[in-house]
Symmetry: C2
Subunit: 648 residues, 2 copies
């Protein structure tokens, strides 16, 4: 945290036009947001009911009824509104905006006079803040705040922002170190990072102070989760919480003493994001150093190659170091989003490309795997090996779905993916006063404003299908304007690199993973880069017991996988020949901008009536294998999938 | 089922004196039985309470109190009594017999006037037979009956046999196809095989008929487990039963239609054992054919190489075919006992050695792994790979204990192992009117009675440490008596084989896995065999995804494993060189009669600060590996263990 905090480029300024990402981003406005609107209104046949709008209407007094669904169901509306806001930032849509305004009005009517807002507690009459471990009120508040800030930035309308500010004020009156206030915090973090957003949007320092209080109070003894009545009386909203230790909620000790990333993966990612925010805003070097320790533990000992975290389904949690089973893991889509959020914050505070290397992996692999190409089906859980035959008959894998599902009763992932896709610009760019950081190579055109300098950047890319990146400057008013363009060179903290400036070959050196070109720029100035996009086999650290003797195929950030559609059944019996040539191939049924990889290998012969165990090595036969990007698996029907292949 | 049923050799007639098995059998009388007596009386500090004797005393009116512990807790006493009975069959022990008599008196006082006997239902006043799915009354009855038959055979005392006969009569009055009787059966099978034992001991055909009724009624529609009130009212003794399907209890369809071995592994093994018994006793060819189908499915598609079954912890159950994960499985000790019971019955009905090949695997590997050499610590769950570091931090493996435990609240395994060890003769020998089947090569001296012919068989063996087997006849009254000795030749259904008779080399042919020597025998006649005891690497069927690219080491029935004690940490990073010589070695800390195996291999270098994923193949180094019999793992402290090794 040696530098000023980088800011994002406003979402409205970045128009994505990428061969591959269009498959996903294109459906957000046209399919995902209208579909989710129907879903949260419980109008999609065959999908699990959300009850979200229902609950808001009951709390508002519009209809009579009971609270239905999970305790945090209000967040379905919040995340939908946030995704709508990001969409409206880029393209006006009066019908969508009208639906959003209608929902915001409804939320306003549901809010209590003193600002409190949570339909579960309002409708059921359960005492506010009485069950911080499970109540999710502060989590829900956080999502409402995030949505309101985005909606304010999208439309300039203050109504939603005022609603959540009143709610934040209500929280601020209830919590704090002062006499008579609750010295507590959220079982599920999220409020912390949201309060920093609200502070940035409103300038109200109380919100930053409250976020900091929540972080500093976390893990204090005696532990609030133990001392609140609900636990003492054994009254649980989620009976499974009975068995969860405090480390599940990252609350077993003060954050300053937590050196291992542990517990529920999404909670961890949101918490650490809030820590990074507060540390950066308050200049708290110690807290930031803690973030670096947790990041390192999370990404260097507990992360899948697909940028996912959460090795165990029970508790949706991280486990021990290097414990990365490929078929029983959880690897929740939301956890990868939280990892991207955390990494992006670490990058903005340090300008170090190593964080974006991981963010890119999470986004290109697990986050995209979470959503089907049709925009209507989702994976919550993202294992790296699935055999439907096994997963559907072994209760150890009851959490693993063998096809994407339409909606979930606990529907955190679908709207979380939608809001992420609708705001990809936050990951693609960052900026200081005089430098634009180009982090991701997704083709787009961006309107940039560095201090007084305004220009357009046209980024041409088909990465990682090709390594060619072309950036063209346009729209500069003056002839020569000095500023810097920083291009992330993946996985290259300090390396010599060639590039072309206006057709002329130049040499440069990366600093913390970036090639930084500081000069006087003119219109039509063109930078061309050639990034490494070779197919290559990778290996896991030998401490990862699940992957010894195995290899995976990568190209750029993409992890590839074998699918039954291309390679038949029994993928575990396949051995990849890592010495073979790997060629790019078109694979039928893959969307635009996605290529397959073909290479040689062998497989153990499957013989009918063979015994279960035998003395001779099973016979093998040569095979040609086809791998496709992991994020695309299961878009061509149900079947086996495998990332880590036996090595021949 | 083409032949007359073989009988066992009475347990009292077989005196085991084996280098290796003495380690276990020797502690049953001296350690296990006295220790278990203390345990079921809740007098062992630090061990989970059994409450078993407590409950019997409450039901008897000896003390006041509530029923404590699980619904089937009475079986702790039953299995202890059965093990005591087997022990007394071999060696008088007045003190132990007095304790047993005292316990039987107590059981008698706890019994209701009409013969009903189950402390949970008696003490709590819960309506008898009202929850057949979970109530375990018939399961408990089964264990009481087995114990009583064994005690009668040991002591000739009828009291316990009369108690269980009255209980069986009570059950017979309650259940049956007749008007007014319950058309139901046990959620947990066991009563079926027990009733056949009671029929054999008493000659009362009603018991056989009742066993047959239970089997034929099983899976009838509408299903009794669905129609009984407890399920309709949602009142569960075990809340987790709410989620279990009827196939968990092998009750989803009639047994005649069940072609896949499925559900809870122990229930399956006991049920199929009962089917084999009833089929053999009643000459029901169709039912026996069904047993063969289920045996084949269980042992050729769902069995671990260690002779264990149950791939999933949730439901302690079998899963899909070839789904044999090595670290998350259940592989309960009791399930291997039930497999041995089932296989032994199939053998006795068919005289086919292939069944005993599997029985031997189960006994030599998983059943023995269930008990520590000290006789006081037990494994319930027997995975084939354990990394304590991982298992203790990943809730997916919360069922896996990384050291043997002293006692369990649900303590089926410890007394089940004890009764098995105390009655090993049932597996070692079987006999027809004129043929003695020698199944297992555990050194012993047996007094045999074939029709009118009596002799002693001295079996000398140190198998599988050596392949040399020597059988010497003694004690024949006449000079030449014709009968047959059948020696099982493991894994050799039909093979030419050499042997020595009185020092002279002879050639023979196996029939269904046995070398049958029919002749006129004289005293001092000596048969010498040389069984294959070579160390050899084995492979799993390529459909077993968990084992592709891996190999295991075997010698005779023994599966070997790598332990951290001999090979250091990170066993998953080890690769066995299957082309290397394998030599026998003495390993420090192993008990008498156990040898290690040494062979070459390599391991991936573990480097500090290595990244989690990298592009180059990890470096390897050559290592010499030491494997020990799987059954002995974890007798030298906590550490990693692995059966299936990567193949170099």
């Amino acid at each position: 945290m040696q530098c000023d905090l980088l800011r994002g480029v406003p979402n409205r300024k970045v128009i994505i036009d990428d061969h591959f990402w269009n498959n996903y981003i294109g459906v957000v406005d046209t399919v995902v947001l209208p579909f989710m609107w129907e879903l949260i209104n419980d109008r999609v046949e065959g999908a699990e009911k959300s009850w979200c709008i229902h609950n808001l209407k009951v709390a508002a007094g519009d209809i009579r009824g009971e609270h239905r669904g999970a305790v945090f169901q209000d967040t379905d509306a919040a995340k939908w509104l946030e995704a709508v806001a990001f969409s409206l930032q880029k393209k006006a849509d009066p019908r969508l905006e009208a639906l959003a305004d209608e929902t915001i009005d409804l939320i306003g009517r549901a809010q209590c006079e003193d600002g409190y807002l949570d339909t579960y507690f309002i409708i059921t009459g359960t005492e506010r803040w009485s069950n911080l471990m499970e109540g999710h009120e502060l989590y829900t508040a956080g999502h409402m705040i995030e949505a309101a800030v985005a909606y304010y930035e999208a439309t300039g309308k203050r109504k939603f922002l005022d609603i959540v500010s009143r709610f934040a004020d209500c929280i601020d009156r209830a919590f704090g170190p002062e006499e008579g206030k609750i010295r507590g915090y959220a079982g599920h973090p999220e409020i912390e990072l949201a309060l920093v957003k609200l502070y940035r949007a409103t300038g109200e320092e109380r919100y930053l102070k409250l976020a900091r209080f929540f972080l500093n109070e976390r893990g204090a003894q005696p532990n609030i989760f133990d001392t609140q009545d609900n636990r003492k009386c054994g009254k649980y909203i989620f009976p499974e919480f009975r068995d969860f230790d405090l480390d599940y909620m990252q609350a077993d000790k003060p954050l300053a003493e937590q050196t291992e990333a542990e517990g529920h993966a999404v909670r961890a990612g949101y918490l650490y994001s809030g820590m990074a925010d507060v540390a950066a805003e308050t200049g708290d070097e110690r807290m930031f150093a803690q973030c670096e320790i947790l990041w390192k533990d999370m990404t260097e000992r507990k992360m899948y190659i697909t940028g996912s975290i959460g090795s165990a389904a029970y508790g949706e949690r991280m486990t021990g170091a290097y414990d990365l089973p490929n078929d029983t893991n959880y690897s929740e889509s939301c956890a990868s989003i939280s990892l991207a959020m955390f990494g992006n914050r670490m990058f903005r505070a340090t300008r170090d490309g190593k964080y974006m290397d991981i963010v890119e992996k999470a986004l290109y692999n697990t986050v995209l795997a979470g959503i089907a190409l049709d925009g209507k089906h989702y994976f919550y859980v993202n294992p790296l090996a699935v055999d439907p035959e096994t997963a559907e008959h072994n209760p150890t894998m009851s959490h693993v779905k063998t096809t994407r599902q339409q909606w979930f009763g606990v529907a955190c992932c679908p709207p979380n993916i939608a809001r992420t896709l609708a705001s990809m610009s936050q990951y693609m760019y960052a900026q200081s006063e005089d430098c634009l950081y180009v982090n991701l190579y997704i083709q787009n055109e961006a309107k940039i404003c560095l201090g007084d300098t305004r220009f357009r950047l046209r980024l041409e890319a088909d990465y990682p299908n090709t390594g060619k990146i072309r950036a063209v400057i346009a729209g500069l008013k003056a002839e020569n304007e000095e500023f810097a363009l920083a291009f992330r060179i993946p996985g290259s903290p300090a390396a010599h690199i060639s590039y072309c400036l206006n057709g002329q070959k130049k040499e440069g050196t990366t600093e913390k993973g970036f090639l930084i070109l500081r000069r006087s720029w003119k219109n039509r100035d063109t930078v061309e880069l050639e990034l490494d996009n070779s197919f290559h086999f990778v290996y896991a650290n030998p401490r990862v017991g699940a992957d010894t003797g195995k290899t995976a195929l990568m190209r750029g950030p993409w992890v590839y996988c074998l699918e039954e559609a291309d390679n038949g059944k029994h993928l575990a019996a396949v051995f990849a020949d890592t010495s073979s040539e790997i060629s790019e191939v078109q694979v039928e049924g893959l969307p635009a901008g996605a290529r397959g990889a073909r290479f040689e290998g062998c497989r153990l012969k499957i013989e009918e009536n063979a015994p279960l165990y035998f003395d001779k090595h099973p016979e093998t036969e040569k095979v040609t294998l086809t791998a496709v990007p992991y994020c695309l698996w299961n878009n061509r029907g149900k079947g086996e999938m495998e990332v880590w292949m036996n090595e021949a």
